[in-house]
């Protein structure tokens, strides 16, 4: 039961974007270079992030990306859901897929376990904002600089 690289890379890229695109737009090329990821792959993810109103883009030579709203208003769950789709560990938890259930939907006892697992995943993802992750990164790197100069 693993989260795909889509969810992981998207989350890292959005945190990196929030840290570096302060007043100006940030290019995917720079993000990809810093995170050591393929720019083409990030491009596909950013299409989904843009569609889900997590980032906005401006085209052109001065173009690039920035967050569509404040970092404190975007949760890790928003980002991961935008690129991964459902967080359900089994298909029958998606309401639209009720017909895909393997047995009696109402009486299934294992479905309840999978539902609780999904809730644990959602709870963590919805509790952490991009601001929290950016703060973590900022704090670690600030400490680094102070240590270096003292």
């Amino acid at each position: 039961m693993k989260i795909s690289t889509k969810g992981r890379y998207a989350l890292e890229a959005v945190v990196d974007l929030s840290y570096h695109a302060k007043d100006e737009l940030e290019s995917l090329k720079s993000i990809a270079k810093r995170l050591n990821k393929s720019k083409n792959y990030l491009e596909q993810l950013f299409v989904l992030l843009r569609q889900n109103n997590i980032v906005v883009s401006i085209r052109g030579s001065q173009g690039g990306y920035k967050l569509a709203k404040e970092a404190s208003k975007i949760t890790a769950g928003d980002v991961v859901r935008a690129v991964e789709g459902s967080l359900a560990p089994v298909a029958c938890l998606d309401f639209s897929n009720k017909e895909q259930c393997c047995g009696d939907y109402e009486k299934c006892v294992t479905r309840v376990v999978w539902k609780k697992m999904m809730d644990e995943i959602s709870n963590v993802l919805d509790d952490v904002t991009i601001q929290d992750l950016k703060d973590c990164y900022e704090k670690m790197n600030k400490e680094n600089i102070i240590e270096y100069y003292i």
């Binding site: 989260i3 047995g103 009486k107 006892v109 294992t110 376990v113 992750l133 990164y137």
Partner: protein, 148 residues
């Protein structure tokens, strides 16, 4: 992010076995029929479960499977880790590759590690007995049927 059929079918089959084992050894064919799962597939799953001491088997005409322990002593976490491997949401490699002071490190520490902890805590807190009781309730079976 999906569970494999091994974990899904395996858990269902074990609940079925626990519910019906008051009648004695349960042939896989019957579990397979009741749960609408391929018997050949269940054979693989039960072979893994037997090697890990969750079930025991008797060969022959009256043969079949029984749980090796009381359902109250078997956690869902134990079953799923046997069938699915570790329940971590990211590979071990992601953790070791997350250099300190990197964005990946912050994401790992604040998101993936927490999810792993919560998931493992959850599945270790649920026993097979609880699912058996839920099953009986949902199917209108007497709660004490197992003990007869």
């Amino acid at each position: 992010m999906k569970l494999s059929t091994k974990g899904r079918y395996g858990l269902r089959a074990l609940v079925d076995l626990a519910v019906h084992s008051y009648k004695g050894h349960q042939p896989l064919a019957q579990i397979a029929e009741r749960q609408n799962i391929s018997e050949i597939y269940l054979e693989q799953v039960f072979s893994t479960l037997r090697k890990n001491g969750v079930v025991k088997s008797i060969k022959g005409a009256q043969g079949g499977y029984l749980l090796n322990e009381e359902p109250k002593n078997i956690t869902i976490g134990k079953i799923l880790r046997i069938l699915e491997g570790d329940l971590s949401i990211v590979d071990e490699k992601v953790r070791s590759d997350s250099e300190e002071k990197s964005v990946a490190y912050c994401v790992y520490e604040n998101v993936w590690r927490k999810i792993d902890e919560n998931i493992n805590e959850l599945v270790d807190s649920i026993t097979l007995e609880e699912l058996v009781e839920d099953y009986k309730k949902n199917h209108g079976l007497l709660p004490n049927m197992y003990h007869i």
